[in-house]
Symmetry: C2
């Protein structure tokens, strides 16, 4: 890892360290746009064509059958089943507190205003399936959708030669999923966004994916005939803050668990101790040797960097500017710094809180904002599957109380019909 002294950096150098690798949306758009257009015009048959071409899909029946769900439940190893159930329970416990509260207040006598929440009726979840099976992502999207009360939840995931694996199907059933299509990539996003005669479109699409999926989600999100999306996405990231007391083996393991995600993973280490950074580098090299995804992790580490700071406040200042998806506070009195964290997706507090617990089972969501979007987005939550509405009910007296205000403002804005709508009701 390249190492910098924070104090010695110019402002421009600091700015450059905050930057993520460019995402080549334009380049991928060239491939993805025609696929989406084809599906918009020709529906399922077009989607099937691309599934055969890109995912090696076989046959014409894309939807998972009851029999497949049952087979998964029957044949799945009981240890894996138990792990999925435990993770699901923690995720459910944590997310069940997120259902937003309605309220009603009287802003003036006779003017009752309220805010209520409703589930988004029609949602689509994308579960990637390229390099590995991701039952955890199924739980992270399926459980909040279920808690929100979404009426229809569609899932798409690429089946290898038309087959989905048991852990994923088992996790889907735990989330009450019934409508599951074996399709991935841009074609899955197109199918969910535009639908078909027999598969109606969804209103909002959730879930991570490769650059084809990410580009497709961006395109449909700005098409008025498309669907809105959970959030824009880039490669996964971790920022680890460590001090003199940090166990270098722990920090190394955390940096590697991010690095193994993909060659484009972003890994940042900040410490008050140059000596510790050296120890962590040594530990990384040692631990790296036994990893099956060693080559991927190595590539990610080549682009990563370490930063030496004078104190933890400087580290947090940099982190807030970077806005990491995952932030690990492996420092003394970690909890006392919580209130200073402004921009981060999910924060791991103290030495016994590795990122992998949040990826799977602590209860928090792992669908998190990357690429600096933690400045404006939170992770997926129950409220990401809901939206608010407001109501107002005025009595005749209430309308009279506010009529002068409304009429004056309508005049200022030169909207006289707005004024009339009040006057005609209060003039009697």
């Amino acid at each position: 890892m390249k190492t910098y002294f924070y104090q010695k950096l110019s402002n421009l150098e600091k700015q450059n360290l905050l930057k993520r690798p460019t995402i080549e949306v334009e380049k991928f758009s060239v491939i993805v746009k025609p696929i989406l257009l084809d599906i918009k015009q020709n529906g399922l048959s077009a989607a099937l064509k691309y599934a055969k071409q890109f995912d090696g899909f076989i046959g014409n029946e894309m939807r998972v059958t009851q029999q497949e769900f049952e087979e998964a439940e029957k044949k799945l190893d009981s240890k894996i089943k138990k792990a999925i159930i435990t993770a699901a329970e923690n995720i459910r416990k944590f997310h069940s507190k997120q259902i937003p509260r309605s309220y009603e207040i009287e802003t003036m006598e006779g003017i009752k205003c309220s805010r209520e929440f409703r589930a988004i009726e029609n949602v689509g979840l994308y579960i990637p399936g390229g390099s590995a099976v991701l039952p955890s992502t199924m739980l992270m999207l399926g459980i909040p959708a279920q808690l929100a009360g979404c009426k229809r939840v569609v899932v798409c995931s690429p089946g290898k030669k038309g087959k989905l694996n048991f852990p994923l199907l088992f996790a889907a059933r735990l989330c009450g999923i019934d409508e599951f299509y074996k399709i991935g990539g841009a074609q899955a996003i197109g199918l969910m966004a535009y639908g078909d005669i027999n598969i109606s479109k969804v209103d909002k699409i959730f879930g991570p994916g490769n650059q084809f999926v990410t580009t497709a989600k961006l395109i449909v999100s700005v098409d008025f005939d498309g669907s809105v999306i959970d959030m824009p996405a880039g490669p996964s990231e971790v920022l680890v803050i460590a001090d003199e007391n940090t166990n270098p083996e722990f920090a190394a393991a955390d940096l590697l668990s991010q690095a193994e995600h993909g060659a484009d993973s972003q890994v940042v280490l900040i410490s008050t101790s140059e000596n510790l950074i050296n120890q962590i580098n040594k530990a990384i090299n040692a631990q790296l040797e036994d990893l099956p995804r060693k080559e991927i992790a190595k590539k990610a580490l080549e682009k990563s960097f370490a930063l030496i700071v004078e104190n933890i406040d400087d580290a947090i200042c940099f982190s807030n500017s970077y806005a990491p998806e995952h932030l690990i506070l492996n420092i003394n009195n970690a909890e006392s710094y919580k209130s200073k964290i402004i921009n981060a997706g999910s924060v791991f507090v103290g030495q016994y809180s590795p990122e992998s617990v949040g990826d799977y089972a602590s209860g928090t969501n792992h669908s998190l904002p990357t690429y600096g979007y933690a400045k404006t987005y939170g992770g997926v939550s129950v409220d990401t599957f809901m939206k608010s509405m407001t109501f107002q009910k005025l009595s005749k007296a209430g309308l009279k109380n506010i009529s002068g205000t409304v009429e004056t403002l309508a005049e200022v804005e030169e909207l006289i019909a707005h004024k009339n709508a009040v006057r005609i009701r209060t003039a009697e």
Copy 2:
């Protein structure tokens, strides 16, 4: 207004009535994209060039001075001042209940998970100024930003020949605004999204606007160097549901107050009574005569329609599919239907609740989802200016409690470094 019998419509005809007029994003993109690119590369000087070209801006000082704020406060008519203050008070009262709540729970022994909220630090508000002055929009965006605690709130609005009017400046001051630029259109969006050496970019852009502004917002929202936006937007809309007892003059006034917004306004009337629809049409024609914005309203009404339904449930079913920005329930026992409303921006309950009270002063927000986006978005609220973060803190015992689950799932997903990060901490 063209009138249809709901029961006689085919499914395809019903679908067509739900459609909004096409928004020509592609057409506007051709003009807007080069402007945005120029500003991205050349900052303020490019923005100034377009402000001069399109808004008739004069000079080089775009930022509102303290003197201008003070002059507005001194010279503004006291009646208008009072109306703005009353509206602001109601908006503040209603929105102050929206600050989302943090929580912490122990999902398993030794695993403490929490969710906290932070204000988005850097936000930009766009206040249109083309056809009329909009102090109300200033309040609707500025007050929730202030309640959320955003550190920096930038406002842009086109000044006519470099002048902003007193009500707008007065309203801005009420919201604690200090950084206000006299610039409108796509160039304002570009300036906020990309910034300049002396004006740093914002993270999220809020506010309505014409098709140039809307297109610019969409473009910057999918540019990784740009800003995220509050919501996609189309023309303003109202759907009025009326029954046999509805006062036709009230309903006519409400339909007209939407129609006068713009020639592209969407106006829909649904009633159980054909007779009432006829009376409302007559009332519209009579009231229309005295409106200053008569020609605009007429154009909007030409495209609007009425629907005759058998019962109120059918009306609500259609409304939920249409997902109107504004929904007026001018019917008997209106309140009893609240729970059936699934998709709408803001709902006006009962005969004394015209849309114009919500536009200005009831307390609810008037920045609302249009074009069917009420299916997935709520109106602007305090939480639109905030985002969530999650935290987890595990004790060593807590990590041991969950280690088996995490290790098993990491194996299923073939992420062995994820497993190691747990094992290395629990093996000691």
